[in-house]
Symmetry: C2
Subunit: 417 residues, 2 copies
C-alpha cells in the first residue's frame, strides 16, 4: 500500500486511507426515492421527540441564564447534567460520581476519543460479530488490528476474552454492546454478562460498554450493565461506559456521555478539549432542564409502547411472509431485527431488486470487522407504519424467494461468502 | 521515552502522551478567586450575545420543524446554513459553493479534522510564533514535527514558506491566522498576505487559514482573506479556510465551518462522520434562522464599537502605567493585546505575584511551538469594565516594576530564555 496519497498540493496522512464513507449513509441516499419504504434507517421515530418540552426548556434556560448558555464552558460538561447522569447510573448499580462523567458530542464522540487515547497503529481491539458500524468507523483512523470475538447464540463467547492474553500486543479494549445491539438486536443474559466479566478480568482485557438502546426495552428491563456488575466484583475488569441522550430524548441535540476510571479520565478530557473544546452549552442546559423535570418517566413508557407495537408488527409480517431457511430472533428492545437468509444468498445483491420492489434494508456485511456473514441484513421498524411494515416485508420476501429460485434449492450447510 | 504508559488495565496509545491539559484552562482555575480581575480569558463578552434573537429563532424553528431539528442529519451540515456560509464568503472574494462547506462543532473541530486527515507522526507542520494554543493542542495527538516560521514585525516572513521545500518530508500544511491573531492581535497587511501566497505556491506548501476574529475590526475591515487572494492568482497555493460563529454570534452553540478543496473534502467529511456524525441539527437551524434575519448587520457594529472602546481603555492604561522597556502594538481588531516585557523578565514568574496583586494574565510561552519568548504575555480586555482595566493594568505595572527592581537595571539587548 502506498503510504501516502497524493492529492496535490495536499498530502494525506496514512490513516486517511483507512477512512471510508459510511456504506449505510451512501445506501440511504439511494432509498430516498419516493415510493420506497425504507427499513434501512437507524433513526429513532421523530414522532417521539419531546418537541414542546425542548421548546419550553430552551425558553426557560435562555431567560434565566442566556449569556451563560451561549458562552464557552467547561470541557467536562455542564455540572448539573453530569450530576444527573451520575444519579441515573447509580440507580442502575454503577459506582460513579459526577467527576467521572464526561459529556460528549453524541456518544459517537466518545468512541472517537477512546480510539484516540487507546489505539496505536496495529493495537489489537476486540469487537463483536456483528458490531456497530459507527464504532468501526471511529476506530479505523487509529489503525487498530481488529479482532473478532467468537460468538454463539447468546453473544460473544466468554472464553474468547481470556484467550486474548496470548496476543503479543496487549488488547487495548473489547468493545461490547450488551443491550439490543445495533445491528443484531441481541441482548446479553445476566449469566453471559457475568461470565464475560470473569474472563475479561482473567485476560486483563478492559471493556468499553456502549449502551445507547438500554432504555428501549419492551416488556422487562435488560440485566444490569457490565459496569454495574463489574463494580460488584472483587477484582473485576476495567470498564468505560458510554451512554447517549439520542434515543431517550433526541439525537439532534448531539449529547452523549462517558464514564471513565480515574486512570483514563484526564486523557479523555484532554482529547475532548482538543476535539471541540466542549459540547454545546445551550444543549446541555436544555437537556438538563428537560431531564430534571422528570419527563423521561412519562416519555419513555410511551416510546417503549410504540416500539413494541412496531416490533410486533414486524415479527408478524416476517413470520407471515418469509420463506423457510430465513432466521431471526425477535428483539426484546431497541430498533432492529437481524435477519439471517439461507446461506446461498448474499444480502448485498438483493438490495437493488428490493429497491425496485419498493423496500430498502441494510446488508449485514459492513457490520463485520473480519469475515463477513454476507447472508445477513438489518431491518429497522421504528419510522414506518404497521401497514408499511406489512407491505414492505411482503415485497422483501418476494425478492428473497426469487433469489432462492435463481440459486436453486437451498443447501442447509453451504456458506457463500 | 517509554512508548506506552501503563495505567492498568488500560494501556494508552503513544499519542496520548502528547496530550496535555491546557495551560490556560488550568490557569483560569487559579484566577476564579473573588477580587481578581482576569485579563487572562479568551471569552467574548457575554453582554453581546443575541439572547433574545436566539430564543425567538429557537421557538420558530421548533414550531415549524421540531422533529427535523431534533433528528439525526447530514454530516455535511444543514444545507441552508452551508449556503449562507458560501454566500457570506463569496462576498469576501472566496470562490466557494455550498458543496465546499463543512459545518463543524466549533472551528476547533476543524483543526482536529485537519490534523487527523493530514498529519502522520513526524510530518512537518508550519506554524507562526506565537500561534493559537488550541491548534497546537488539536495537532499534538497526531504527532507532527512543528516548524516555526521565522517572523518580523509584520508577521511570518514569506521566504520562510518557500524555504520549507528543503525538508525531507513534505510540509503537510502551514497554519496561519491573518486577522487579529490569538494571541498576538496581529493583522497581516495585504502586501504580506500576497507575498506569503506567492512563496507558499513556490514552496508547494498548502495553507490552512483560520479566521475566527476577522469580523471584529474596530475602524476598517482587514484585507481580504488568503483564500480570496489565492483565488485571484493563476497558480496559487491550496487553501483550507476555517470560520466560526463563536465570535460573531455565540460560542455556546459550538458552530464553525471549513471550506476545503474537492481533493480534501471527502476525507474531512469521513473524519467528521467518525468524530460526531454531525453537528447539532437544532443549533444549525437556529443559527441559520438568526443569520438569515440579517441580525449581524445591526449586531456586529455594536460588538465592534464595544470592543474598540475596551481596546482604547486598555491602550490608555498600558501607556499610562507600564514602565519603559515594555512594548506592544495596539490591535486594530479582535480581543487581545500582546505585551513584550524587558528581556530579563519571565512572564510566567510574574503570574503568582500578579494574582496576589489582584490581576491575572496568560504568560506567552505556551503559544510558541518551538523556542518560547518567555518575556511575553497576553491580555484580554473584552469581559472587563474600563475601570477594571485601569486598576488591573496599574496593578500589573506594579508587579513588573518590582520584578525589574529585583533583576536589576534592564539591559536592552539581553535575552533571557
Amino acid at each position: 500500500m502506498d503510504p501516502t496519497a497524493h492529492t496535490e498540493p495536499w498530502l494525506l496522512a496514512r490513516r486517511a486511507q483507512r477512512m471510508n464513507p459510511s456504506t449505510i449513509r451512501e445506501l440511504l441516499k439511494l432509498t430516498e426515492q419516493p415510493g420506497i419504504v425504507s427499513l434501512a434507517g437507524g433513526l429513532p421515530a421523530p414522532e417521539t421527540f419531546p418537541v414542546e418540552a425542548v421548546a419550553e426548556a430552551t425558553a426557560r434556560v435562555l431567560k434565566a441564564s442566556g449569556p451563560a448558555a451561549l458562552q464557552y464552558a467547561a470541557s467536562e460538561g455542564y455540572a448539573p447534567l453530569r450530576a444527573w447522569v451520575a444519579d441515573t447510573l447509580q440507580e442502575q448499580g454503577l459506582r460513579v460520581t459526577p467527576a467521572d462523567v464526561l459529556i460528549t458530542t453524541g456518544s459517537q464522540q466518545g468512541l472517537d476519543l477512546l480510539g484516540k487515547v487507546l489505539i496505536d497503529p496495529g493495537s489489537p481491539v476486540a469487537v463483536e460479530a456483528p458490531t456497530y458500524l459507527g464504532a468501526l468507523q471511529a476506530f479505523a483512523p487509529y489503525e487498530p488490528q481488529l479482532v473478532t470475538l467468537a460468538g454463539d447464540a447468546e453473544g460473544p463467547v466468554p472464553e474468547a476474552l481470556s484467550g486474548l492474553t496470548q496476543r503479543a500486543d496487549k488488547v487495548r479494549m473489547a468493545y461490547l454492546l450488551p443491550n439490543f445491539q445495533n445491528p443484531s438486536g441481541r441482548c446479553l443474559t445476566r449469566a453471559r454478562r457475568e461470565a464475560l466479566l470473569v474472563h475479561a478480568a482473567r485476560g486483563g482485557v478492559p471493556l468499553v460498554e456502549d449502551n445507547p438502546y438500554g432504555e428501549l426495552w419492551y416488556d422487562t428491563p435488560p440485566p444490569p450493565p457490565l459496569a454495574a456488575l463489574a463494580a460488584q466484583m472483587d477484582d473485576g475488569p476495567g470498564v468505560v461506559y458510554l451512554g447517549s441522550l439520542s434515543k431517550v430524548l433526541a439525537p439532534g441535540l448531539r449529547l452523549g456521555y462517558l464514564v471513565a476510571p480515574p486512570a483514563l479520565y484526564p486523557k479523555l478530557l484532554q482529547a475532548k478539549q482538543a476535539a471541540d473544546l466542549h459540547s454545546p452549552s445551550l444543549n446541555q442546559r436544555v437537556a438538563h432542564e428537560v431531564l430534571r423535570s422528570g419527563l423521561l418517566q412519562t416519555h419513555l413508557p410511551q416510546v417503549r409502547a410504540r416500539y413494541r407495537v412496531q416490533s410486533d408488527a414486524m415479527q408478524q409480517a416476517l413470520a407471515r411472509h418469509l420463506p423457510a431457511g430465513c432466521h431471526w430472533v425477535p428483539p426484546a428492545g431497541g430498533m432492529f431485527f437481524w435477519l439471517t437468509l439461507p446461506p446461498a444468498l448474499d444480502a448485498a445483491q438483493l438490495l437493488a431488486p428490493a429497491v425496485r420492489a419498493g423496500v430498502a434494508f441494510v446488508p449485514g456485511a459492513p457490520f463485520f470487522a473480519g469475515q463477513a456473514q454476507a447472508n445477513t441484513l438489518r431491518l429497522s421498524f421504528v419510522t414506518v407504519s404497521a401497514e408499511q411494515i406489512e407491505t414492505s416485508v411482503a415485497a422483501l420476501a418476494g425478492v428473497i424467494r426469487q433469489a432462492l429460485d435463481t440459486v436453486g434449492p437451498c443447501v442447509a450447510d453451504a456458506t457463500v461468502l
